[in-house]
Symmetry: C2
Subunit: 353 residues, 2 copies
DNA sequence: GTGAAAGCGCTAACAT
DNA sequence: ATGTTAGCGCTTTCAC
């Protein structure tokens, strides 16, 4: 297995090692190792070594380095699912940020399954990641508390949890903004198609929405609340249940754009027109929201990813992580009577080939 | 760095090692190492060792094992972007398949940038992945040929390339199916909003579409072809350019659903109604397609992911990889005059909290 | 600055 | 089946 002659795509010598570099330069391995980490042009030795490395096509072996040093130069990111564009956007930004700094990201997807969450974190840990980005936190702190107890630097992203460092959107504010907007548009009886309550993000949106509605004198009727998932199918089902029960609401806040898409088809099937009969607000401002002319809240995913990565790398170097909350932005479109066919949203996600 | 007393969350003894297990059981390290890989109940020694391991909370160190054995138990997946739901779905399936078999996935995103492609593959290689899944192949073979030359098992997924093992959707067939459908619906002058030609997937769709139209006696007019990206913004821009030039087409095939979403807003802005004035077909059958009532081609992403992972793991064990092509499926909806508000598509992607 | 020696945790020849 | 002996490629003490 160890360089059987001829099995290596490079020359017969096999993948170049530090020792080979040492022989070639007449220096000692340790000297070479150190010189390699100085700037190429900082001194004659460094330059000599760097040139030799380039000639041999030397690539350091992070495995061996990690084994000895205890640092892997990799962080782990645990996502609930990368098919959630929000998580994918966060990942992309983290990947970009971190790779530029010589780090690497190992991802894991848990589908929000508690068993998988622990298993994947353990896997990441056994690969010795230097820190963890947790994108699948649940509000009941069990999982996150356990992560904290591991003694590894960590930062929550997108979904926060009490007492843990996190980078999130101000979901409660977002909920309030939506309430303000709907009431301003004249809707006094509105519905809520909420996401799972164990997600601090969904929870926060619902709380802000409800609180602000009460403050505005248009309190949310519990009979007009449906809760469930974040998918189009659950959104459709929720809206269907709602419509079977009541038809006297004139607006609704959906936990995500996908839910809004589902709700839209339920409305259409019931002969109700989006915007005219029922005003809808989504969440995430996906590209498709533009086509449906859907009012939506844009939460700053890229920024969350960048800030979380930055914070985690700081934590790895000993800077204590302090939670941050980023501002959401309401994008008004036709589904709440805003200007129809408004300018296209920032082109963040693409797909298909 | 190596277990400074008190810095470890576990007992003062530090993370348990094979040596500690050996001392505790009175066996030799190598014996323990081997016993650990036998079934727990296969013989008395194995049982003894497994129990001791459980008591100590022993977790093998893959780093050390890899360094010695040359196998990491990890595969690398290179994606062009995980914000492409198609790639995310493939990743999710790969992750699931591979983790179940004791492997791990390291992802990398290249945004289709040639520099990043090589850099990330090299990074994955320096982490010593046992094989590569390439999701960002370009039709000009440079990159892929280079990957092949590395001597590491690899499989292309979603986008194929001549002479390389791949798992793809039959994109050409998909293009033909769309042509058949549009012509059957009575459209004889149709447009094409194509994706990038360097993607074998986009290219195949375009070729199939064009070829079949010609066979049906309704050849594609070059003046009705716009090509570009796969995003909503590019789709909108493309449709706007097209409309500025011609208004005599009655149907269009879009490279992806996102493009179709963009095209839809362009149509709306021009006062044209989807389905009535212009029939549209998308690609990927995203959830949002349902809400827009968009006819779309469903390509079997999950299956692609699973088959590709399976093929790669086979290749790692020496089974030669043989390319496979999976069948697409046309989902007819209102945008081509199909039944409006049809049943909701399979609930594959969710999002937002 | 550099060289020497030790060792990270594990697996893979060898013997026995 | 078990013990012995090496050693993966690198970093990190320690001396000088």
């Amino acid at each position: 297995m160890t360089n059987p002659p001829g099995s290596d795509p490079l020359a017969g010598a096999g993948r170049p090692t530090l020792r080979m570099l040492a022989e070639r330069t007449g220096l000692h391995m340790s000297t070479v190792s150190r010189a390699l980490r100085r700037e190429p042009a900082s001194d004659p030795t460094a330059e000599l070594v760097h040139r030799a490395a380039a000639e041999l096509g030397y690539r350091p072996d992070p495995l061996a380095a990690s084994l000895r040093s205890g640092k892997t130069g990799a962080i782990g990111m645990v996502a609930h699912s990368l098919t959630d564009i929000a998580q994918a956007m966060i990942y992309e930004e983290v990947d970009h940020y971190v790779v530029e700094r010589g780090y690497d990201v190992l991802v894991a997807s848990t589908r929000d399954d508690p068993g998988a969450q622990r298993k994947r974190v353990e896997l990441l840990l056994s690969r010795r990641v230097d820190g963890l980005l947790i994108g699948d936190a649940h509000r009941d702190g069990d999982y996150v508390d356990w992560v904290a107890s591991l003694g590894v630097p960590y930062v929550l992203v997108m979904r926060g949890a009490e007492g843990h460092p996190s980078v999130t959107c101000d979901d409660e504010l977002a909920g309030r903004m939506v309430a303000d907007h709907l009431v301003e548009c004249g809707h006094t009886r509105v519905a809520l198609l909420a996401g799972p309550d164990w997600s601090a993000a969904s929870h926060g949106r619902a709380v802000g929405f409800r609180t602000r509605l009460a403050e505005l004198g248009a309190p949310l009727d519990d009979d007009l609340v449906e809760s469930g998932g974040l998918h189009a199918a659950t959104g459709r089902a929720a809206m269907e249940r709602l419509l079977a029960r009541r038809r006297d609401f004139t607006g609704a806040f959906c936990a995500s754009d996908f839910v809004a898409f589902g709700a839209t088809s339920a409305l259409a099937a019931a002969g109700l027109r989006l915007g005219d009969d029922v005003a809808l607000v989504g969440f995430n401002d996906l590209q498709a929201a533009t086509s449906l002319d859907l009012t939506s809240v844009r939460s700053p995913q890229e920024e969350m990813g960048r800030v979380a990565a930055e914070m985690l790398m700081g934590a790895i170097e000993g800077v204590p992580a302090v939670s941050r909350t980023l501002a959401p932005q309401l994008i008004v479109r036709g589904s709440t009577g805003g200007p129809a066919a408004s300018a296209l949203a920032a082109d963040v996600a693409g797909a298909g080939a």
